[in-house]
Symmetry: D4
Subunit: 220 residues, 8 copies
């Protein structure tokens, strides 16, 4: 298990991370972590590793692209002094190219995405114990679908940066793909983007596997 005693684990991202978390703080009781994968990760960490006293903080904001993360990185990440930072970004960077094709100023293309994400990771690495990079995803089983194809490109960039920077890599698209062999996308997300409880469990499990969480650990 990679997260250590008393460490602070901060999640940042878009609506998938946000899930109606408390603002501005994003930590504490009464649903402060929202209702998505961040809350499930925290719940399972507390349930199985209560003795570690891990702090989970949610700094997701709906609709964000990597451009938005950059603008608030200093305040919402660096100033929080996390030990671990988990980043999942890129869905809106791609989606706007497909649902608002004519409003080009809202698109974040691959070059800007890669450059911005890399600079955030590189800047942050010296200040933390570790970084977890989760790919963006699109809950569409057809690899030739245009938006899925684009999303896969963004996912490859995430993988590349993870390798370059020795970050923990979580391939969320791949995790969804396994389930999409059996289930049609509509069973996991009404819009192929915002997952059901099952979809968030897929995300939480992929994350937890990557950090060495042991489901069968005896906490006696």
């Amino acid at each position: 298990m990679k997260i250590g005693q008393g460490q602070k684990l901060l999640f940042i991202g878009d609506s998938i991370t946000d899930c109606d978390r408390a603002k501005p703080e994003g930590e504490g009781l009464f649903g402060a972590l929202g209702t998505g994968y961040v809350s499930y990760v925290n719940g399972l960490l507390q349930a199985v590793y209560p003795e570690l006293g891990i702090r989970v903080v949610n700094k997701g904001i709906s609709g964000n692209t990597v451009r938005d993360l950059k603008a608030r990185w200093q305040e919402d990440v660096i100033a929080q002094k996390p030990d671990w930072v988990s980043i999942m970004i890129g869905i809106n960077d791609v989606w706007r190219q497909y649902d608002l094709p004519f409003i080009k100023e809202k698109h974040v293309y691959l070059d800007e995405y890669e450059e911005t994400l890399r600079s955030l990771v590189v800047e942050t690495k010296p200040l933390v114990t570790g970084i977890i990079l989760m790919t963006p995803f699109y809950i569409e089983g057809n690899e030739h679908d245009p938006m899925r194809r684009t999303m896969d490109q963004y996912g490859k960039v995430v993988k590349k940066i993870a390798e370059e920077t020795d970050s923990i890599f979580v391939d969320t698209q791949s995790a969804f793909n396994e389930v999409l062999k059996t289930l049609y996308p509509a069973a996991l997300a009404w819009d192929r983007v915002h997952p059901s409880v099952a979809g968030h469990m897929i995300l939480a499990r992929a994350f937890l596997k990557a950090i060495g969480f042991d489901w069968d650990k005896s906490n006696r």
Copy 2:
């Protein structure tokens, strides 16, 4: 994994099971299963065993005692034709003895509890593949606390009936006790009864372990 292909798994209980599920149906999309352990069990089953096509139905109703379950058993359990039935009841049977001590008609004492629960299990057993009996619990680490002591007695009855009827037994109190070695009750539930996300994860995990769920299963 004990639940088989295409089987229907029905949960019944009180507010811990209910968690704002859709009524009357308690099955389907958009939060129909509520926001508690039932929803998490279903999410993890769908995430890890999508190929099994298990149907999860939530028939919890807040405030119920075993007396209430009996009154709606025909309609809410038998008529649903489940393959598996999971029962977690007893918290209100005990709680009313402590928070409304003078209103005795709302108390369900141990004898009535045992007799009623046994008759429901015995009646149902021939109609289903299996029954899961979850103990009621009280998120209080002190075994000598009066309400905890009473709750433990009710839990023992559940265990006895599980053994008599060869049902799957889930000791939720024991699962909470492990975590209470480290965390104070207030960190898991504001009133020692209604759990946080972490508390519901403890319940979901205890349930899933009992039915042979494999977290590390590859679903490729």
Copy 3:
């Protein structure tokens, strides 16, 4: 223009038709026709053919399948004494097979769909001036997508029944397909089912073309 002076044109269907229409009546001022293609058809008929005094009635109900239409046909169609009946049904018949794959009692398979729809049309034909049959649709450009493929089968059944019964046929899937050559589905509908204003205009225009509406008519 096929709809004549003072005739009553009744639309029936699911949420695409419903669009928050007034209930139970579905006719009159103040948004009684809802905010979808029915309202646009009515608006354009009133704008261009005010002298005809056509009555438009909306009897769509969200979530309906052809099985639901059958159950309310006598009250919501026959008893209204329409001159024209427009039917667009089948999306939920198919969708439930994909978003709730395990709840099979909510699926309406092709045989039942065809049989039910045909019997409704045959029963109604002698009582009205004409029937318009609109295909169900799925705003997905990939013909090999499983749900799109299924939807196309239901659309073929609609076409077959239209030909058998000499009804006016509106191929809504085909109308969407034209636009999907240029636009990605997310630009027309967040869930590939519930269209934007542009999507409802596509439906309204396809309908109006089929009944001989003349956009360039001078109403002087």
Copy 4:
């Protein structure tokens, strides 16, 4: 068709244009364009000319007179860098003279109206591909009605300015007059000002005819 590939078409005006559009932006998904003629124009442009990728922006604000447009022209028009600007203003300039006759500081009389509107058009013309000037209207068939008579004078001013500046001219009053031959005003607008869906379709159609929209265009 006068609007070209990728061009931005900006509408400005009063409540007839506004129709509960998103503020401040007035562009995008989920009803951002409101529920009136602007939304219908956009819907039909997207439905019939999806390949053109036209951007429609709604900058209407309820209650505005030409005096209000002048105050926000720099920010809401010039700074948006539109290719086309459509202006429909004047209803409140006139209406306040009739519904609040004693509060004279809210009236915008003909001289101020003409001078202000002309200066906005003249200032904007060099910066855009084209300007569309829509007359204000009053849904009253009686030409001798005092408010209708005044509105007609404002409409004539719009026509004059359109001719002077070589703008596209849309005579909305005339479009309504055609329908008022058959329908009584109350069938189109409860207050003779805010149109029903049919009334907004009359406006959209008048606009679209003026810009060379082809309803029968094949978009294959």
Copy 5:
């Protein structure tokens, strides 16, 4: 002053009478009489003739035609045992002919109107001290406007029945006409039907003049 000591004065009609009165009772404190002319009549009667102890009851219901009055006459008028009955009905009988011209079953034409109103008055006359008949009205100064012309015909019927049955007659149209010499309709009612406070004062004053109310009475 025609209303005597302790008498009950019941008003019945449509939305002009209703004005959000309490239902079902329509009598008592806290706005039970609504916010229109009935409330003003009652307020002025209490202010100037407190010693008479007159009871005012409001039985108006929005949207009613004379056909609706007939249906509830036994319960809402006869069973109330009023001493005086004031009737103002007919606006919706006429309006529906103009705003919903195609839905003919909602129109109440002149013959039915006259026959129904007369039978209600004749039936009631022997049971009460007196009946006040108020004409319907349309706040439109142009006598040649089609809806005004129709409304005037209904008003004439009211006058005829008042004369036949020796009822007190209140010509509300005439009262509005006086003010319309100076004010445009929009200053009195946004839809020419539902009056402003000033419009309801015109109604109240016309009513009070007809029953011999003395504004200058000293109540010392």
Copy 6:
């Protein structure tokens, strides 16, 4: 009739004047004048003297004392440039002495009241055509009631200032007293302060009599 052609009549005061008027403006359509005596005065002026085009403005604010009026006099009275100003203030000045007897900083005693009111009137007189001074009141028939006795003293101050400054004087207490001979206070106001519709009609009538309003004027 003392108010002349096109003059502006401004009311200022406390909750009796305010009555949920629009803020900040307090003039215009749609209940902008509130639901109390100011609205009734305006309604009757428009109904009987429409040709005068009198503007009524309501600047009452709930809870105000004369101390509050002084603080906003420049902005809410002088800057509005009224022709006539009607002031009714003092109820809260007195009431706080009785319902919050221990919070003395909220009491405005007679000396401060007199001095402040006089200075406001004297300052304003040269700027307007006329001032109307309405006494505060207490709807209690017993002159020996302590709060009534105090209120009467404040009323006498108002009368004195009216005489000194040649203002129009309206004795609202006296107007209520007449009705209180017959009705118990609870029939006019639940708290002896906030009048029913009848109570506001008493105020409106007292005001209108003082300015020479002629109820029987023919406005033909």
Copy 7:
């Protein structure tokens, strides 16, 4: 202390008793007893005599007169099997004579009041340990005020019945009178009827004194 171990004490009355209690039950946690004197009595009994386990039930309903109590006596009192019944009724019986003087069918005059109250007490006496009769009250210090004078007559009837039937008598009017020597009514109740917290404490204290409650009891 007259209420004994485990006894049930039921309060019935009007809005003073009701105070937004839970309905239909009126017993239990979370404000089920409302926010008035019943809740305070219960709170003080639990605080000082927890060992007695007294059950308090609130069956007050706003607006009730003794006539209403009679109609629901069987269900709301007898069927509850109380040991003690406390009745406070009569305020509305009197108030309606003053605030709705013309609606005589809502008045309950002294004869009916006395006869009805006596029959309820006599009927109930054999079934319970004891009855507490609380007078109605009017928070008005002037004994010559008409409504206060009437209320005093009703209070005398309550005293007479208490003496006849050997019930415990609570003179609430007298309790308020003591405080009214110092405080003006408006400081205790905005309408002289619905008390502030202080007013409800006066009621609770008067009740508790009558049943022998000992504030200084040591509950060690």
Copy 8:
């Protein structure tokens, strides 16, 4: 009775004191003092000692620790110029250590608590007639419960400071302990912290006993 004629008694604390009081003022009618012990203390003081004219002010704010009190002491205590100050603080200082064990910056440990509280009392003492120090409490009967044990330490600090500074001391924990001999915590507070009405009466009574309140005082 220690509080004298016309003195101002100010309460400050956390949610137990706050109880939804009016903000910012916390004094006056209509529930301004909230619904907890402060309101009950005030109600009983007004009921029994109306002639003293004591002013009670509530400055509690939910969630506050002693650190928060310090930050607002100047504005919320000193600037109010109270004669008496009652302080009950410390519950959140302790609770956060148990319900949010990992967020250490929200914990206020014993040293800081003691130092801060002492400095506030010492600073304030010269400015007031007297100070009342109420211990924080935890409604848990088991003295060995960890949070109860911690709370008892904080209570001892309060006692020590009271003795040092000659303040009036109120041992709320001890008052609850008496009742907890009979009742289980859940009967007094759902979370062992926020009391029921009975719990607030325990607090009010403990406070009143400490200041010499005489329940049996005759206020004649």
